[in-house]
């Protein structure tokens, strides 16, 4: 798409785009290039310039069982969060789209969780799930130690999964509802005239028509849970207990800022970047197919 009518004063064009280019270079391209450089070099222990070491850092990363653990956990986290929050939001959106009494209130309240900072979500869930107070702690009356996310790895992981799903449900709801609302009314009415009841229309007409939105949301949710879980983890589990919630981004942070091993952190960053680029490319493939009707 191009404008037919344009302006000729290229000084203005340059002046208008320069600030953005400077920012993007300084805070995006340079650091990204730097990450690549660090991932391929090692800082010698007694000073001097970095030395090129090829893929040695990547080999080190891949040889580290903790790294693979963090990858597996991240994948579990991403997939569970995505299925839970998209599924939950889809049910709500389908029913809210029936526009029965009170639907406006529901639609208004459902997306609020998305506005809550991840750190606040983390704290709220940490309190709710804390073993000595809160709610699930009451399970410990049945059997001491039955519920304790500070000791039980899977319980800690469950806690951050629920927190992230809760937050993303609001976001997914907005998109699914918008998609449902853009399905032309007559199509639904035609199905009603064809004898399809409410639930059947949801299954056979509405859901298939918004599949493109589902693909889009799957990608967004998976990408987001790879990168966006940091705040939640940092205020709740700090990666513990014994690394049970150490997801990829959190491990990069620990390796980079706690262990000060820039090369290792950079190599992990590069891998994560590649992963996300692949996801994004997938997303763009699907964006093309987002609109089913014309």
């Amino acid at each position: 798409m191009e404008k037919r009518v344009t302006f000729n004063n290229l000084w203005i064009a340059a002046a208008f785009i320069a600030p953005q280019l400077f920012l993007v270079f300084t805070f995006f391209y340079w650091p990204t290039g730097q990450a690549l450089y660090w991932s391929l070099t090692l800082e010698p222990p007694f000073g001097g310039g970095n030395q090129f070491v090829g893929l040695q850092n990547f080999k080190a990363v891949f040889a580290d069982p903790h790294y693979w653990d963090s990858v597996i956990r991240s994948v579990i986290f991403a997939i569970t969060v995505t299925l839970l929050s998209v599924g939950f939001a889809a049910v709500l959106a389908l029913f809210a789209d029936r526009n029965l009494r009170g639907h406006q209130l529901y639609k208004f309240l459902y997306f609020l969780p998305y506005a809550v900072p991840a750190a606040a979500v983390g704290l709220a869930f940490r309190f709710t799930f804390t073993p000595e107070a809160g709610f699930l702690g009451a399970l410990n009356h049945l059997h001491p130690g039955l519920w304790d996310p500070t000791r039980n790895g899977w319980q800690a992981l469950l806690q951050i999964i629920l927190g992230q799903s809760w937050k993303m449900a609001g976001y997914n709801f907005i998109f699914l509802l918008a998609a449902l609302q853009s399905v032309p009314r007559p199509v639904i009415e035609a199905a009603a005239m064809d004898g399809a009841g409410v639930l059947r229309r949801m299954r056979e007409i509405q859901l298939p028509l918004i599949t493109p939105t589902f693909f889009f949301l799957f990608v967004i949710n998976i990408t987001d849970s790879f990168v966006d879980s940091f705040g939640m983890i940092d205020v709740t589990t700090k990666g513990g207990p014994s690394r049970a919630t150490e997801l990829m981004v959190y491990k990069i942070y620990l390796d980079g800022f706690e262990s000060k091993d820039y090369s290792l952190a950079a190599a992990q960053s590069i891998i994560l970047m590649l992963l996300i680029v692949v996801m994004t490319v997938l997303q763009f493939r699907f964006v093309e197919r987002r609109v089913h009707y014309s």
């Binding site: 032309p184 199509v187 009415e189 005239m193 064809d194 004898g195 599949t211 089913h292 009707y293």
Partner: protein, 361 residues
Amino acid sequence: MTQISLNGLSKSFGKNTVIPGLDLDVQGGEFLVLLGPSGCGKSTLLRLIAGLETASGGDIMIGGARANQLEPRERGCAMVFQNYALYPHMNVRQNIGYALKVAGVPRAEREARVAEVAKSVGLGELLERKPAELSGGQRQRVAMGRAMIRNPKIFLYDEPLSNLDARLRVAMRIEIRKLHQKLGTTTLFVTHDQVEAMTLADRIVVMNKGVIEQVGTPAEIYSNPASTYVASFVGTPGMNLLNGDFDAGAATIRLKDGQVIALPKDASPPLPSGPLVCGIRAEDLATGGAKGLNATLQFTEELGASRLVHTLLAGETVIAQHAGTQPPAAGAAITLQADVRKLHLFDAVSGRNLGHPGGNA
């Protein structure tokens, strides 16, 4: 042959009353066209009958039984939507067969019926295509096939032809009419195109602002419009309407500029003197002749077989059929001969038809 009766049917959206209260009887097997300008409530009426809208008041009787509380699928209606409303994710076969699938018809029987219907609407070759891969006319056929497959008691069409080009529209009109002849199903057809209404209908319902102005056969509506509204809406061009004053004693109508139309003494309608509107169709107004009404020619509309002249008479635009081959130049004076026995007289305030000079009001 299913009859429909609407008794005192009304519909409001919030404070906005679209249909204030309407009575209509549709005979079994009849092809009824709802005609009216955009926004007059035609679609709303059709959707009320289909069960897509809930009536605010009154009764909808289908086949003698009250249907207000019945769901769309229980009313035995099939509908063809203006934009077809095909299921974009299903191919032609699935679109046409969906109603049967919902009804739980076994696959083999369903396939057979779909094939039969698809053939009768000329879609035999295209069963595997998605709606996006079809032309406008083909989509239209799918929509009709989808409606036909259920053997509905009633066909409802909501401006189904308005998205087609002129040539295709004429062709589809014929097909819809043929379909009706073959099946004899009660049909309601909404349009704002009066030519479409005239050519398709057994009877036409002319609507205006949610109110029925007139119900009648195309010929009745054309030759005996119930109001100025119907008179000007139906016909190409619509009827010419001129304000005037009726003098009962002299049996004359004096136009605003003082010119006088004399009615035949023997056929003067039994009306009191006073203002009224007189209407005359273009074909009942001849041009030329020594005597007649003096008008100014504005321009000529060439129709090939005939031509219409637009003239200014008593400050109003009047269209007449021009007999001669050589139309005069714009701005020229022209005389118009009215066939006074074909004159229509309407009440100046209500617009109701008051009768003909010929008699039969």
